[in-house]
């Protein structure tokens, strides 16, 4: 009578449409947000930035592929882009003059130990890039704390003059019982630091570039504001209180925000989906925890920088935070009027 369907049609449960979002798109979004910092890294530290990043990314991809295919014997999922993000973040937290073999070793630890031992993407409790970075930092402290002084565009690796990071200068100064005023004379102005003109890891130095990435991530709804803002807010608040109480012993909150890996860590590492809490309340607890640990290590600990440990320690609390801070259920507390 009427037209019949002459072929097999799909019968599946609703919904029948999808947002077209994908893991790859999210990872690509993160990579795009890292471009400004990458450009500043190249300007400040020369082509070495490109080389270190390239080596880290390629190593991460190769290790992920090889481990999945030959050790775990499952379908490699390198196309999801998460290994690329791990590679870039690892590279961004390393000094530009690091030997290549250390970059490769760090990538192996990041992907192999940080990610694959737990079952791959989605199952790792700790941020893989930070696992790699901290492994290198503890095992090879000399290579990891020999920072090239930024000279500007076109400098090759061999030309770089090594120096300390601003946080390192302060730690050293305080150890020698110098006053903060004396110490600060060895450190560049806040304005210069804002553009990344200081010693440090190749992707962490330029606050402005990282902030542009942050705005992009928020606009694209890849992350929410909760984690980065609470981390940076906590750091600012607590260093601010200490600074007001004892200005001769403590650096200003502006200094603390602009130096070290605070901004890179807060925006790009602490917000790693897999290793951060899932509700806004949980995210705030997580952010405050990271901020506090960072400040305590920076001020009282053995290391000049603390954010990497802050993030890793709080990563361990994520399952607990998730089970305590559930979203508010609809109809749970009924207030009707």
């Amino acid at each position: 009578m009427y037209e019949k369907i002459n072929k097999l049609i799909t019968v599946s449960p609703s919904p029948h449409v999808h947002s077209a979002g994908s893991t790859q798109k999210l990872m690509t979004g993160v990579l795009i947000a890292l471009i400004p910092a990458f450009v500043i890294g190249i300007i400040m530290f020369g082509w070495g930035t490109l080389i270190v990043t390239g080596v880290a990314v390629i190593s991460c991809l190769v290790f992920e592929y090889v481990i999945q295919k030959y050790l775990l014997k499952k379908e490699p999922s390198v196309t999801d882009g998460s290994a690329v993000v791990t590679g870039v973040l690892l590279a961004f937290s390393l000094p530009v003059n690091i030997p290549f073999w250390l970059v490769i070793l760090g990538s192996l630890v990041a992907i192999g130990v940080g990610k694959m031992t737990f079952g791959g993407l989605g199952n790792n409790p700790f941020n893989p890039a930070l696992v790699g970075r901290v492994f290198l930092f503890i095992s090879f402290p000399v290579q990891l704390t020999t920072w090239p002084a930024p000279k500007g565009f076109g400098t090759s690796l061999t030309d770089a003059i090594t120096g300390a990071t601003p946080l390192g200068i302060i730690k050293e100064g305080l150890r020698n019982s110098d006053s903060m005023d004396t110490i600060m004379q060895n450190i560049r102005s806040s304005k210069e630091m804002l553009y990344g003109h200081m010693g440090g890891s190749l992707g962490e130095v330029a606050a402005i570039a990282l902030a542009i990435g942050f705005i992009y991530l928020i606009m694209k709804k890849i992350i929410t504001w909760h984690i980065p803002i609470t981390i940076l807010g906590t750091i600012a608040l607590f260093t601010g209180i200490m600074w007001l109480i004892e200005p001769t012993q403590n650096a200003s909150p502006v200094f603390h925000l602009l130096t070290g890996g605070a901004i890179l860590g807060a925006i790009f590492m602490a917000t790693d989906y897999v290793t951060s809490p899932m509700t806004p309340k949980g995210m705030i607890i997580f952010g405050v925890g990271i901020g506090l640990i960072t400040v305590v290590i920076r001020r009282f600990g053995a290391y000049p920088e603390g954010i990497q440990f802050g993030i890793l320690i709080m990563n361990a609390f994520v399952p607990l935070i998730n089970s305590y801070f559930k979203p508010k259920r609809f109809g749970e507390e009924v207030k009707n009027g």
């Binding site: 037209e3 609703s14 999808h18 989605g122 979203p327 259920r329 609809f330």
Partner: protein
């Protein structure tokens, strides 16, 4: 700022292709297949048998039990058989098959198109007429309307809501009805208000239908007890609990019903059917069905008799597009995929959506990356990723504790998941198993 529900929600592409097309009447089919179970609850008992001659509007199935509904013949002609026949759910259900012969209506039905605004009947009569006319919720769930009209003892209804949200993408049948039958709909709505003795009526319409908002607002000016509210466009605002929250700020408690917060919600199509039943003595024998899809030649809104085969509707909309890969009864978010078009229109058929092949298959899913997007879009404040994992691992006590039964199955979680995870599939399974466990406990 426009009202909306506060938590969760998504914005799927609206694709309301048929919104500008007037409702057209389809010619009568040669035969109709009228299932005796077109509603939630007990199937109706057949009152006719093979060989009987029936008239349009005649009762052919009598409700059985409280949650059930009357079924009427939508055509006149000869009953060919009362037997199992395939319906849109894919199951065979007892149906009355009638060979159409002319179109002779039972005499008590007022077939004129005159608008009858004055309400002359009592509240109880209204409820009886709704029961007699076999009216069910026409938004898709097909819950018998008279059940909603009896407020349980100790509860009070003080606000009635008319649901003109139509938040499902593609569907436009309620939108067209509001534009073309606005007066009738508001009379129908006021009839329900009278039956429930409610003094306040709220009409919720999403802001993507400005013509319907202004049209109904204008008509509502003559009724001081009614007010039309434009709503911010957000899926699933047409969900009862979300709409109540958006309009009144009241939150239906977990496991509760709208009446627990003093509200009853009815749909546009239902209000129109109430008008027909009470003012015109006309039972529910026809409805508006949207036929649409990205490649459909003439996306349309048809007024069709219940029991008309769906392929006749698709034919009238330009036929099945060559690349069709999925046929959905309803909208893309909550509609059910069908395996055949040789099934009848029922009281709950709001639309037929033909989905192209390339969009009809799901992409393979990847591991959960804990992005929490499912949590942020869930309008019920649930954790879909967790419910899926718990169901996979068969930890059903936690599935229950984490409120799987509150899930309204809107599909926002599966829609948003970047890893394409079949979250709602698993939540449905979890709900089903938890339901079994709870029943066994008693």
């Amino acid at each position: 700022m426009l009202k909306s529900f506060p938590r969760g929600g998504v914005h799927p592409a609206e694709n309301k292709f048929s919104a500008g097309n007037q409702i057209t009447k389809l010619p009568l089919p040669k035969t109709v297949t009228i299932p005796l179970s077109q509603h939630i609850g007990t199937p109706a008992e057949p009152t006719v048998q093979r060989g009987d001659m029936v008239k349009t509007g005649q009762l052919i199935g009598k409700y059985k039990g409280f949650v059930s509904s009357n079924i009427h013949s939508s055509v006149s002609g000869k009953v060919l058989k009362v037997d199992k026949a395939l319906d849109s759910s894919g199951y065979k259900r007892t149906s009355v098959v009638i060979e159409v012969n002319e179109d002779i209506w039972i005499t008590k039905i007022d077939r004129s198109s005159d608008l009858r605004k004055e309400i002359t009947v009592s509240g109880d009569e209204i409820i009886n007429k709704i029961l007699d006319a076999g009216i069910v919720g026409m938004g898709g769930a097909a819950f018998p309307s008279h059940v909603k009209m009896s407020v349980p003892k100790g509860k009070k209804c003080d606000i009635l809501i008319l649901n003109g949200v139509e938040c499902e993408p593609y569907l436009t049948s309620d939108h067209r009805l509001m534009l073309e039958k606005g007066e009738e709909i508001l009379v129908g709505f006021r009839l329900v208000m009278k039956a429930l003795n409610v003094k306040k009526g709220m009409v919720g319409i999403e802001n993507n239908k400005p013509d319907a908002i202004s049209h109904l607002s204008q008509i509502a000016q003559q009724y001081p007890e009614l007010e039309v509210f434009p709503l911010k466009v957000k899926y699933p605002q047409g969900g009862e609990k979300q709409l109540i929250k958006a309009l009144t700020g009241r939150e239906v408690p977990s496991g509760g019903l709208p009446i627990d917060v003093g509200v009853v919600v009815h749909n546009i199509g239902t209000a129109y059917a109430v008008y027909d039943a009470v003012q015109k003595n006309k039972p529910l024998i026809e409805r508006v069905v949207t036929v649409t899809g990205n490649d459909v030649k003439k996306p349309s809104n048809f007024l069709v008799r219940i029991g008309t085969p769906l392929n006749q509707l698709v034919e009238a909309a330009g036929g099945i597009p060559a690349q069709t890969g999925k046929i959905v009864n309803g909208g893309p978010m909550m509609g059910k995929a069908m395996n055949s078009l040789e099934v009848p229109v029922t009281k709950g058929t709001s639309g037929i959506l033909l989905i192209p092949e390339k969009e009809s298959k799901r992409k393979p899913f990847r591991p959960c990356i804990r992005c929490a997007k499912c949590i942020s879009v869930c309008p019920m404040g649930l954790e879909p990723f967790l419910l899926m994992t718990l169901t996979e691992k068969e930890i059903f006590d936690r599935v229950e504790k984490d409120k799987a039964l509150d899930c309204i199955e809107c599909g926002s979680c599966s829609y948003i998941c970047p890893a394409n995870r079949p979250l709602l599939d698993y939540i449905r399974l979890g709900k089903f198993r938890v339901g079994q466990i709870i029943r066994n406990r008693k």
